[in-house]
Amino acid sequence: MEIRPILSALMRSKVAMILIGLQVALTLAIVCNALFIIGERLERMQRPSGMNEADTFWFGSNGFGQGYDPFTVLRADLALLRQLPGVAAASTTNSVPMIGGGWGTGITLQPKQKTATADTAIYFVDDKGLDAFGTHLVAGRNFKPEEIADLTMGNRLAPVSIIVTQALADKLFPDGDALGKQVHLDEDTPASTIVGIVDRLQQPWMDSRTVEYSTLVPAHMPYGNSTRYLVRTEPGRRDEVMKTVEQKLAESNRSRIIGRIRTVEQTRREAYANDRAMMIILGVVIVALLAITALGIVGMASFWVTQRTKQIGTRRALGATRGAILRYFLTENFLITSGGLVFGTLLAYGFSLWLLTHYQARLLPWYYVPVGCLCLWALGQLAVLGPATRAARVPPAVVTRSV
């Protein structure tokens, strides 16, 4: 291999070499971090909510008439919803995973405990709540109809029974014996007993660090005259039922307005719209950077081939085969790219550290950079292949002709 003479020759054309090396370095640093961020976002977007998203929708009912009793209306509405064809389950709920708003509290194990053991979201549901969410009990039991309380905003949060998610149960009782244990949902309130554990039900807030910690409380809990309903349909009948529901509920009570009915799939799309936009932007940046780097290498190599035509002819005259000329340019590119990648590796981890320090991002996993290096080496070799092949075709006779 001609590594030493190639390096020696490159040292006499430092500017072009440094520019391309720098371009490779920046590309490595940005592409690795951008890919990592895309991967993180994708992972985030693919987290299951714990619900049956395909068959479920939700909507709000806002009462305005004189003497409007939200509890009377919600009972009538639930009775109507549950007898509609195609409805598998319906419940009131204060919130739904991914909608971005809801109740939260700190759970303690002792009544006077100053710091919460875990932060949890609260879902107020009735005995059909689990069924409406489509979540699955992994231990214990569902709420009984007689446990469902009518709560208003001023009431203390002290249910006798609660159901928690598996993640929250494990956090509260790492020994795995949460079922039947007592916890406090508010400071200085009577204890609530964990009567059931569901496999998963995410909080309404997607950015929460405790997104898997949710608690279901057996209660009807309207917000003033507003009530939110959650309906799960039989498979494949969601859209059909949504139309019926809007019409039937509007007809059943004229002193309220039915809010926009949204599927959970729509809710997911809206919840992750920013993540999707970020992924697209980063994807475009990655493609653009790779294209610019590849074009830069093609441009530089093409220029060097043109500039060195006579030199290539001289090498051919002195005995270089076409393969030797091809190898020369591939090796030269490999060396420049390698230099850039060494600097780029430092930049990539430095950039990741900066993101960690300033934006609490996760540190770039170690394997991103080596994989990125391999990809950029391959890109460099592919980019230089065209000009190198052109160089290999330079006939040795150019050495005796005027160029």
Binding site: P5, R12, Q311, L318, G319, P395, P396
Partner: protein, 241 residues
């Protein structure tokens, strides 16, 4: 050493055919110093290119050191060129980004010599042309005469059987030209066959034989070697007698 029989070279484009060499025959023996002369466009460079395996020919035969080069593939020609032929060009064609050591090293690397063998040959070749102390210098740091001597060292390092020189003194002043010419004569005396293309009748006269080419054909060829014009060393030797 080199034998061409009824060799022809035709350049074809979709419009015209140009006969650069026609029925071209020449026989250069081992150890000869042959000067090739002729007007511009006569076919001198084409002859040199074909002789140096830089170009293929259209018809006829060409034997180089007993090897029939007809139909030889590009890689085989490159290897044969590297092994048998040394080139000296009018414009030196040293690689500007490499120092003299690395320049002389270029053909040796293609030959596949081990590093120690290459170093030995490079040092010997540069010492032979008087540039042993300039190994780390770049071509731009040398005079024209020194650059041509470096090019000669590069041509000699692989111990070629045939040295092809294309106007080797064309870019040099008379003093430097004389030095280069004397070096070539010295190399020839040590057994290397030299074919030199030149416009300079005075230089041509110093060769053992002259080949004159016009319109791609040999028009004047000294069939037998003649006495070389005495060099400065020869004159000194004669004076001593």
């Amino acid at each position: 050493m080199l034998q061409m029989k009824h060799l022809s070279k035709v350049y074809r484009t979709h419009m015209v055919e140009t006969h650069a060499l026609r029925d071209f025959s020449i026989h250069v023996h081992d150890g000869e110093f042959v000067a090739v002369t002729g007007p511009s466009g006569s076919g001198k460079t084409t002859f040199l290119n074909i002789a140096g395996l830089l170009e293929e020919f259209s018809g006829g035969e060409y034997w180089l050191d007993g090897v029939d080069v007809r139909g030889m593939g590009d890689d085989a020609r490159s290897r044969l060129r590297n092994e048998k032929i040394g080139f000296i060009f009018q414009s030196f064609n040293l690689i500007p980004d490499l120092n003299l050591f690395d320049n002389v090293d270029v053909p040796l690397r293609y030959r596949g010599f081990a590093a120690a063998e290459r170093r030995k040959r490079i040092e010997e070749a540069l010492a032979r042309v008087g540039l042993a102390s300039r190994m780390k210098h770049y071509p731009s740091e040398l005079s024209g005469g020194q650059q041509q001597r470096a090019a000669i060292a590069r041509a000699l390092a692989g111990s070629p059987r045939l040295l092809l020189a294309d106007e080797p003194t064309g870019n040099l002043d008379s003093l430097m030209a004389r030095g280069v010419m004397e070096l070539l004569e010295d190399i020839n005396r040590q057994g290397t066959t030299i074919i030199m293309v030149t416009h300079d009748p005075e230089l041509a006269a110093r060769a053992q034989r002259n080949v004159h080419i016009i319109d791609g054909q040999v028009t004047d060829f000294d069939a037998e070697p003649r006495l070389r014009v005495p060099t400065r060393d020869d004159r000194a030797a004669l004076a001593a007698v």
